[in-house]
C-alpha cells in the first residue's frame, strides 16, 4: 500500500515549488479526475503544475523515498484512463513546460518540452517549411502524451507513427535520476533501445522532460480525394486493392455517412457530400504538380473501377477545411450523439479491415446496440464506438462488456491487437493480458520493476 499524502508532504512540496502551483483538495478541479473518455474517475491528492525538469526530479526523489504514487498528465486528452490518478497521490501536470527549444536545420530536428501541443508543433514546423508527420486527430494533445502512447494518426500510411519521429528523450526516472536516451543521431545500434522502451510506455517508466523530434521537408503539395461508395462493403473492400496498386498515399481514411451526419450537427456545418453510405478519404502529397495530379487521377480511376460513385477533388485550403474539419471532429461528434460510450481502438492487418467492420455491423444488430465506427483503413487501425444511448446502467455494462470481448476476440482471430494508437492505460488492461498471455505480461512487469522497483510511477496501468 502507498502512503497517504499528509500535511508534511504538502509543506515539503510547497518548499520546492511555488505555492500557487501546488494544489490540493478542493483546489483541484473536476477535470483532473478523468481523461477525455471520462468513465474512469479518481482525484489526485496533490496536483503540481510543474515548470522544469529539476522540479520533477525533486518531486520524484521525494515520492520514491516516501512511497507516494505519481501520475503525469498532459492535456488530458487520453482515452484509456492512463493519466488518471487511480491511486490518488501526486499528479504532475506538464502543460506549462511548453517551450519549443530549438530548431536544428542541419540535423532536421526540433527539440521541445513535453507540454508543447501537437497543433503548435505542427504550425511551428510548417512555418519553417518542415513537416512533423505524425498527425493524430486530437491536435490539442501534448507531445509528451503523444510519445507516451506512441500516437499514430492519419499520415501513418506513408510516414509511420510517433515512434518513428522520436530521436532522443530526456527523462526523469522514478527515483529522480535524470537520463538522456538517444539523441540527434540517425542511426543507433548501441545496446538495448531504452528510448523505444520509453516511447509508448504510458507514463509508467519515466517522465519525459525534453524530446528531440525528427522533421522532414514540407511537401509543397497535399491534396485529397473524397470518394463516395454505394455501400460500406464496397468502400472498405476497395482499400486493399488501392494499397495493392502501389499508389503512394499519405492517408486512407474510411467513414460512414452516420459519422458525417453527427459531425454536421456537432459542428453546425454541412459536409460537401452526404449522398452515399460510405466514404474513403485519400491523400497524396509531393513536390511535383504533374506527379501529384497523375497519382490522383489514377487513384480516382481505380476507385471508380472498384465501384465508387465518383471521386471528389479536395485541393484548396477551403475545401480541405470543409472535409478534414469534419473528419477531425468525428470522435467528439459521436460522443455528443449518445449518453455514454466506450471505444475500441483495435488494429488488424490492413487486408482484414473490411472483415472487422462487417463483423461490428453484425454485432450491433445481434446485440441491438449502436456501434458506429471510422478509422485509418490504410493502416488497419479502427475506432469503433459502442454507444449506450437509452440503455439502463446494468444492461449497458453487460452489453458493453460482451461487445468488447467479442470484438477483441475477433481482432485476435484476424491477427490484430488491442490498441493501434490510444494505448492500454487502465481501461484495456484485461484485453491486453488476454491477448498477449502471461509470458509477455510477465516480461513487461519485469521491465517495469527494473525502472521502478517501488512501483510509484503511474501504478495500476498497463497490467
Amino acid at each position: 500500500m502507498y502512503n497517504k499524502i499528509n500535511s508534511a508532504d504538502i509543506s515539503y512540496l510547497k518548499s520546492i515549488i511555488d505555492d500557487e502551483r501546488v494544489l490540493s483538495g478542493v483546489q483541484i478541479t473536476e477535470d483532473y479526475s478523468h481523461d477525455e473518455l471520462g468513465d474512469i474517475k479518481s482525484y489526485p491528492d496533490v496536483l503540481i503544475k510543474v515548470k522544469s525538469e529539476d522540479e520533477i526530479a525533486l518531486v520524484m526523489k521525494y515520492a520514491n523515498e516516501h512511497n507516494i504514487p505519481v501520475v503525469v498528465r498532459g492535456s488530458g486528452t487520453g482515452l484509456v484512463g492512463a493519466a488518471v490518478a487511480i491511486n490518488g497521490g501526486i499528479m504532475l501536470e506538464t502543460t506549462s513546460m511548453n517551450r519549443i527549444l530549438e530548431l536544428d536545420e542541419e540535423n532536421l530536428t526540433v527539440t521541445v518540452e513535453p507540454g508543447v501541443l501537437l497543433m503548435d508543433l505542427a504550425e511551428f514546423a510548417e512555418s519553417h517549411d518542415f513537416l512533423y508527420p505524425p498527425d493524430p486527430g486530437e491536435k490539442s494533445a501534448t507531445i509528451g502524451g503523444n510519445i507516451s502512447t506512441n500516437a499514430g494518426g492519419m499520415r501513418a500510411v506513408k510516414y509511420g507513427v510517433t515512434r518513428d519521429y522520436v530521436r532522443g528523450l530526456r527523462v526523469v526516472l522514478p527515483n529522480g535520476e535524470i537520463e538522456e536516451l538517444g539523441g540527434k543521431i540517425v542511426k543507433n545500434s548501441t545496446g538495448y533501445s531504452l528510448l523505444n522502451l520509453m516511447i509508448g510506455s504510458e507514463g509508467t517508466l519515466g517522465i519525459i522532460t525534453k524530446a528531440i523530434l525528427k522533421l522532414i521537408p514540407l511537401p509543397k503539395i497535399t491534396e485529397s480525394l473524397l470518394v463516395p461508395f454505394p455501400s460500406v462493403t464496397k468502400g472498405i473492400r476497395a482499400v486493399p486493392e488501392i494499397i495493392k496498386s502501389k499508389a503512394s498515399l499519405t492517408a486512407i481514411e474510411f467513414f460512414e455517412r452516420e459519422a458525417i451526419l453527427f459531425s454536421e450537427s456537432y459542428l453546425g456545418k454541412k459536409f460537401p457530400d452526404t449522398s452515399s453510405p460510405a466514404y474513403l478519404l485519400l491523400t497524396v502529397d509531393g513536390n511535383d504538380r504533374e506527379v501529384v495530379d497523375n497519382e490522383l487521377t489514377s487513384v480516382a480511376k481505380l476507385c471508380m473501377e472498384l465501384g465508387a460513385a465518383d471521386a471528389f477533388i479536395v485541393d484548396t485550403d477551403e475545401r480541405k477545411d470543409s472535409v478534414w474539419k469534419a473528419r477531425g471532429a468525428f470522435l467528439e461528434a459521436i460522443k455528443a450523439s449518445t449518453t455514454e460510450m466506450d471505444e475500441c481502438d483495435v488494429v488488424v492487418p490492413r487486408n482484414k479491415v473490411a472483415e472487422f467492420i462487417e463483423y461490428t455491423h453484425g454485432l450491433a444488430e445481434e446485440l441491438g446496440i449502436r456501434i458506429p465506427s471510422f478509422g485509418h483503413a490504410g493502416d488497419g487501425n479502427l475506432h469503433v464506438y459502442v454507444c449506450r444511448d437509452e440503455l439502463g446502467s446494468e444492461k449497458w455494462q453487460e452489453l458493453l462488456a460482451l461487445a468488447f470481448s467479442k470484438m477483441y476476440k475477433k481482432a485476435e482471430e484476424l491477427s490484430g491487437l488491442v490498441s493501434g494508437e490510444h494505448g492500454i492505460g487502465f481501461a484495456k488492461k484485461q484485453y491486453m493480458h488476454d491477448l498477449y498471455g502471461d509470458t509477455q505480461i510477465e516480461l513487461m512487469r519485469g521491465i517495469k520493476k527494473v525502472f521502478d522497483p517501488n512501483n510509484i510511477l503511474n501504478p495500476g496501468k498497463l497490467f
Binding site: 492535456s75 457530400d273 487521377t297 460513385a309 465518383d310 471528389f312 477533388i313 485541393d315 484548396t316 472535409v323
Partner: protein, 261 residues
Amino acid sequence: MKIIVCVKQVPGTSNVEVDPVTGVLKRDGLCAKLNPYDLFALETGFRLKEKSGGEITTISMGPPQAKESLLETVYMGADNGVLLSDRAFAGADVQATSYALKTGVEKIGKYDLIICGKQTTDGDTAQVGPELAEQLGIEHAANVISVDEIDGEYITVTVNLDSVYQTQKMKLPCLITIEKDACTPRLPSFKRKFATSPDAVVVYTAKDLDNLDAERCGLKGSPTQVERIFPPEAGGDRVIFNSGDELSDKLFDILSEKKFL
C-alpha cells in the same frame, strides 16, 4: 432557366507576397485557384438548376490559364464556360472589368439570372458584381444569404445587411452576389472531369466581342490609379458582437474548441 455565374482565378494561397518596391503581387510560381467566394455563387446556381432545370454558363476575364478555373466550374456542375482573354483587357480596374464582363454576357445572349461571389480574395473590392448589373441595366442585390423563391418572373432573396436581414424581391433578369458561407459548396468531380471535353470552355478575345469599345477596356478604360498595394495586417483577436445568450454560447464554443474548458 439560364444562369450565368461570374468567377475569377486568384492566387492559390492567402500568403501572397507583395513586392515592397513596385507594390505588385508576386504571382511567380504561385498556384492559382477559383476565388473561394465564387464557390458559394456556383453552389447557389447548381441548386437552382437542380430545382428548376436550365443551364449554367460560367464566365471569367483573365489570362489564358484562367481556362483551368472555368473547366473546374464544369467539373463542379456548370454546363459550359466562357473566358474573356486578351491583352486589351489587362490592367483593368472594377469599371473596366465589369465593362468587359458586360460585353461577354451580351455575347452569351439571353439569361435570367447572373450570380457572383460577394468579392474576390485578391482584389477584395466587392464592386464588380453590382457594377456589372449597372452596366447591364438590371437590378441587383449584394450579400445574398439565401434564395427563397424563384419563378419565371421574380426572385426573392434574403440579404445580409450586417445588423438586419432584408428580404428583397426583384424582377428577372437580375444579378445577385452571394455572401460567404451561405452554403457548403460541392467539390469538383473526377467523374465529370473524365467526361468533360476541353471545348466546354470557349475563349473570346476582344475582337470576338460585338460592339466592344476598346477605350473602355483594360488599363486604358480604368479611372482607378493604384498608388500602392500592401497586404492587410493579419487579424489578431476577434471582436464578437452579439447579445446575451447568443454571445455566451459563442464564447463557450470558442473556449471549448481551444480546450480552455
